[in-house]
């Protein structure tokens, strides 16, 4: 366990303490798990209004091609990711994956074309490995700048557009996955219309020394409440989004994880830039032949939450384990327990019954379509 003294602090650390947050170590940072409102109300507030999340622990990385042409940086990045980066238009962002030679996932991230450079946001726990991975593959042709001390705030929920537009009117014109440089109270910030809650909203990248001031400004709006990592987890679970380290890791492939949509046709067999990324043989073979297991939604039949680590069985008694729950808990908006996990491909059809072992009892769950709560992205 991390001891508090060893933990890093984000630019909003003193604000969290001032707001009465319950803090805990997460990916090496002392982070707010919940504020006084509590996980349940924070979750519901985000879906009904607007929530402000400190995600400054995540890693922000800029990549500039030595040639000056952003397409060269994109093509270089494609040697370590299976997604189509080169066709990403200026001002647009998409979901990305880093793979290993076995086809497993080393991390998931967001990548934006900022016109003259690429802007990546990677997971906190993976950011140093990701930086090393990018440097190893790209440093001959690109300049790589880690901005690990920079602030990053997510503003999520139906009121997010109105709140941010009151400071930066152009935020209103952005669509889901648009990225632009805007100004809030005189501070230039990089804004993407995205997030990880299933709600419409924004992520706002801010110079470290201005992050506290901007966060307080946004929180001064009556619609906005501070939201901790507890509700962030239940929101993303209801939205059917993967948590790296739980739902996806170095042993799960993009096809198994049901992330085929993240690998565009141009990188698949028959595409103009097919393959050419770590584990391409394994992953592209699974595109053609299917994977033996798949990530699915799991809807417990009863009221008891089914959590990560619960072992799955095909029958209520006897038989071998068929899979594992990778995320699970109570979904405040779903109004009951929700979970995700891996099952054999033959049992992945929605409606299929499986049983999760919880405290010695096998609880019935139905394979369910994801997300549990419809997304409200502004497309």
């Amino acid at each position: 366990m991390d001891t508090t003294a060893d933990l890093l602090k984000t630019p909003l650390h003193s604000l969290h303490l001032e707001l009465g947050a319950r803090m805990a170590g997460f990916a090496g940072y002392d982070m707010p798990i919940q504020y006084k409102m509590g996980v349940m109300q924070e979750h519901l507030h985000t879906r009904a209004n607007a929530g402000l999340f400190d995600v400054s622990h995540m890693g922000q990385i800029l990549i500039r091609a030595n040639s000056g042409n952003v397409r060269d940086a994109a093509l270089a990045l494609e040697t370590i990711t299976p997604v189509d980066v080169a066709d990403l238009k200026p001002g647009r962002q998409r979901y990305g994956l880093f793979t290993n030679d076995k086809g497993g996932l080393e991390d998931d991230f967001m990548v934006a074309n900022r016109g003259d450079h690429l802007y990546l946001v990677v997971n906190a726990a993976c950011k140093h490995d990701d930086l090393a991975r990018i440097e190893a593959a790209l440093s001959d042709t690109c300049e790589i700048e880690a901005q690990f001390d920079r602030g990053l705030i997510a503003l999520q929920g139906p009121a997010a557009e109105g709140v941010l537009s009151s400071y930066a009117p152009k935020a209103e014109d952005m669509l889901f996955m648009d990225v632009a440089e805007l100004e809030i109270a005189g501070v230039p910030v990089v804004v993407s219309r995205s997030g990880y809650t299933g709600e419409d909203g924004y992520e706002i990248s801010i110079p470290a020394e201005e992050t506290d001031r901007i966060a307080r400004l946004l929180l001064s709006d009556d619609h906005v409440a501070p939201i901790g990592l507890g509700a962030r987890d239940s929101l993303r679970l209801e939205a059917g989004l993967c948590l790296y380290g739980n739902d996806i890791d170095e042993t799960t492939t993009p096809v198994e994880a049901n992330l085929k949509w993240a690998i565009q046709k141009v990188r698949r067999n028959g595409g103009a830039r097919q393959g050419g990324f770590p584990g391409a043989d394994v992953i592209l073979s699974q595109f053609d032949n299917g994977a033996s297991r798949l990530r699915v939604g799991l809807q417990p039949a009863g009221k008891a939450p089914v959590r990560a680590g619960a072992v799955l069985f095909a029958q209520e008694t006897g038989g071998e384990a068929i899979g594992t729950v990778t995320s699970g808990g109570f979904g405040p908006s779903a109004g009951g327990p929700v979970a995700m996990g891996y099952v054999p491909a033959a049992m992945a059809a929605p409606g299929t019954s499986v049983f999760a072992e919880v405290r010695g009892k096998r609880l019935e769950c139905a394979v369910a379509a994801l997300p549990f709560v419809p997304s409200t992205y502004k497309r």
Binding site: V39, A231, D233, A304, P305, G329, P332
Partner: protein, 120 residues
């Protein structure tokens, strides 16, 4: 007679029957409860044994049996509506009644002043 445990349970002892619940401090630390699993009526429980499970949005926690005895009644109302434990932990949010094997064993538990001193 009201007694408390280090695991944040309270016991209201009348004769050889104890009504058991979790303290206000415990309910606040756990946050909004979404699921409660109660013991079976007739179950014989040891002191310190797992008696019940409570779950918040984030996590599951055990409620331990504060003294040895037999469960004579459970509060189905908190299984139907776990939020009762948060709104009234020492009243309507009680968990179960226990016929104590040895009522005198309760003397070793903390009184309210000692419990309050423990949680600070």
């Amino acid at each position: 007679m009201l007694k408390f445990t280090e695991d944040h349970e309270w016991l209201k002892i009348e004769g050889d029957v104890a009504t058991v619940g979790i303290t206000e401090h415990a309910a606040e630390q756990l946050g909004d409860l979404v699921f409660v699993e109660l013991p079976e009526v007739g179950a014989k429980l040891d002191k310190g044994g797992e008696a019940s499970t409570v779950e918040s949005v984030k996590a599951a926690s055990d409620v331990y049996c504060p003294l040895a005895g037999e469960v004579t009644e459970v509060n189905q109302a908190i299984a139907d509506d776990p939020s009762l434990v948060n709104s009234d932990p020492t009243g309507a949010g009680w968990f179960f009644k226990l016929k104590l094997d040895d009522a005198a064993a309760a003397d070793d538990l903390m009184d309210e002043a000692a419990y309050k001193a423990m949680i600070g």
